[in-house]
């Protein structure tokens, strides 16, 4: 926060006094534990200080303490709403440094679960964001409950695949731990068919709603220049007119084989970010179908199952691997000294960089807009605080 803004706090009734208001850390619109100190002039925010770290577990220290075999299941606890992609970032980095092969079937399975995870994560985002803007959307919880219903269907698929609904431990170094059970592919196809049809219903519900448009259009505008400077990624940077998607910029896990579009909007406001995510639903469903159609036969891992925690050793070296998570670029920087644990492991969390945009865009907006803007950023605090 600008130190000047923090200083000017006067309590009075003259109409132009400044007031510091504490939003959070237990505020329903924060979608986690996040505290925003808002400096207000009347209803207008003039400065913001974001206080984060309530969920800090020092994942980077944990990563340096746990072996390559132990950590992947912990990695899913960074972005727990899209655990598939956070695990994938870690194992990809280790595979890059250690030059481990990944069989083609495992690569396709990784794409399949990553895209289903994106759909599930966007469902949760859409539902909670609409819940935040509640009253304007004719009954508040309607869209939320619909979205939770869709997300449940995908979590059921993940449960059938891995035995867990949120934190999967699906990826392992050199491939995946599980193969598709019998009948799973058919169930997945039916699920995405239903979701695809319902996305259209939500669009009709929201985009015909004048209140929704007023609350999102022209609110929280991020310019292209600011988006790059702060290091936004995912739907946020694509909502500001930058065509940046890791799946295109640096295709990993056979993404080059798939035919999909990278949706880009240029307005940079909450509505543009909403439109990007709505189009991503459909693109992800397209990729899921392609992955199911083209799934190659063969092994799912280039390594045998591990029998002891120190079994995976990575030669000396370093590397940075990134994947496109639901919220943007999730990356992992690993330095190996040749032992069973990384010497240094750094998380690049998409939510951390995305949340850093708030102090730049909130000033000048009304308090009610803060909620709309925060929801459009879609932060997951496990990933912000790591």
């Amino acid at each position: 926060m600008d130190p000047e803004a923090r200083k000017v706090v006067e309590i009075g009734y003259g109409g132009n006094e400044r007031l510091i208001m504490n939003m959070g850390p237990q505020h329903p619109s924060a979608h986690g534990v996040f505290r925003a100190l808002l400096v207000l002039e009347g209803e207008t925010v003039v400065a913001v200080d974001a206080v984060i770290g309530y969920l800090h577990r020092c994942h980077e220290k944990l990563g340096e303490t746990l072996t390559y075999v132990q950590y992947p299941s912990i990695a899913s606890k960074t972005d727990y709403v899209a655990a598939m992609t956070s695990e994938l970032a870690y194992v990809s980095a280790v595979e890059k440094v250690g030059k481990f092969e990944v069989p083609k079937r495992a690569q396709y399975l990784r794409v399949l679960v990553a895209e289903l995870q994106r759909v599930a994560s966007h469902c949760l985002w859409l539902g909670t964001w609409c819940l935040d803007m509640g009253g304007a959307l004719g009954g508040g919880a309607t869209v939320f409950l619909y979205c939770m219903r869709e997300r449940e269907a995908i979590l059921d698929l993940f449960e059938a695949l891995t035995g867990a609904r949120l934190l999967y431990g699906f990826h392992q170094i050199g491939g995946t731990r599980y193969d598709l059970p019998a009948g799973w592919a058919e169930k997945a196809r039916r699920t995405v068919d239903v979701i695809e049809q319902r996305i259209g219903e939500y669009e009709a519900m929201l985009e015909d709603n004048a209140f929704f448009l007023i609350r999102t259009q022209g609110v929280g505008v991020v310019s292209r220049e600011l988006a790059e400077d702060v290091g936004l990624s995912g739907p946020l940077i694509r909502g500001s007119g930058v065509e940046y998607d890791v799946r295109r910029a640096e295709p990993y896990s056979s993404y080059g084989d798939f035919d999909f579009k990278v949706p880009v909007e240029t307005a940079g406001d909450c509505y543009a970010r909403y439109r990007v995510r709505m189009q991503e639903f459909r693109e992800s469903i397209k990729i899921v179908r392609q992955a199911l159609d083209g799934l190659p036969e063969g092994a799912i891992s280039s390594r045998p199952g591990v029998k002891s925690v120190g079994q995976v050793r990575v030669p000396k070296g370093e590397g940075y691997a990134r994947v496109e998570g639901a919220r943007g670029e999730v990356g992992c920087y690993v330095i190996s000294d040749g032992g069973p644990k990384p010497y240094r492991m750094k998380w690049r969390g998409a939510s951390f960089s995305n949340l850093a945009i708030l102090p730049h865009i909130i000033p000048g907006h009304k308090v009610a807009d803060v909620v709309a803007i925060m929801g459009s950023v879609d932060p997951v605090f496990g990933e912000v605080d790591r």
Binding site: G53, C58, D229, E329, G331, K346, R386
Partner: protein, 150 residues
């Protein structure tokens, strides 16, 4: 701007030899050229995208600050690194060049105790303001007790 142009430009401007791996150009610089290199990467190489910044503790050899910036149009990735020297903790801040460096440098200060000169608001970001020590340093044991527990 392709990696080959970037390499010759860096060689000419800073007199160091970069390492190229695909589209990634890694440059190790002395700490007094740190901000100049950031500004030059942004203006000349078009690396306007600030991806992340962090540090590595090399024990007796001291801390190293690393930073990744990108040119999203050409796909060029510039990976900057600088050794602060044994026992040294000061590094010029990149905030005057990239606004995204603000939170990243605060996190780096929080975890490694790197003091970024000219940072507008250098406070702890993830840990409480009264926390003692820098957890990601190698001499900080993972079971260091911190009573009273909060």
């Amino acid at each position: 701007m392709n990696p080959a142009d970037a390499v010759s430009g860096i060689r000419e401007k800073f007199g160091v030899e970069p390492v190229v791996d695909g589209a990634t150009v890694t440059v190790a610089l002395p700490v007094d050229q740190w901000r100049e290199a950031g500004a030059w990467a942004k203006s000349t190489l078009g690396c306007r995208y600030f991806n992340w910044l962090s540090a590595v503790d090399w024990k007796a050899e001291g801390l190293e600050v690393v930073c990744r910036v990108e040119n999203l149009e050409s796909g060029l990735v510039l990976f900057l690194r600088t050794r602060l020297g044994a026992g040294a903790t000061r590094c010029p801040s990149l905030v005057p060049v990239y606004r995204g460096a603000d939170w990243m440098e605060r996190e780096c200060y929080d975890m490694f105790g790197v003091v970024f000169d000219d940072h507008p608001d250098l406070r702890r970001i993830l840990l409480p303001q009264d926390w003692e020590g820098y957890p990601l340093r190698k001499d900080y044991a993972i079971d260091t007790p911190h009573a009273p527990y909060r």
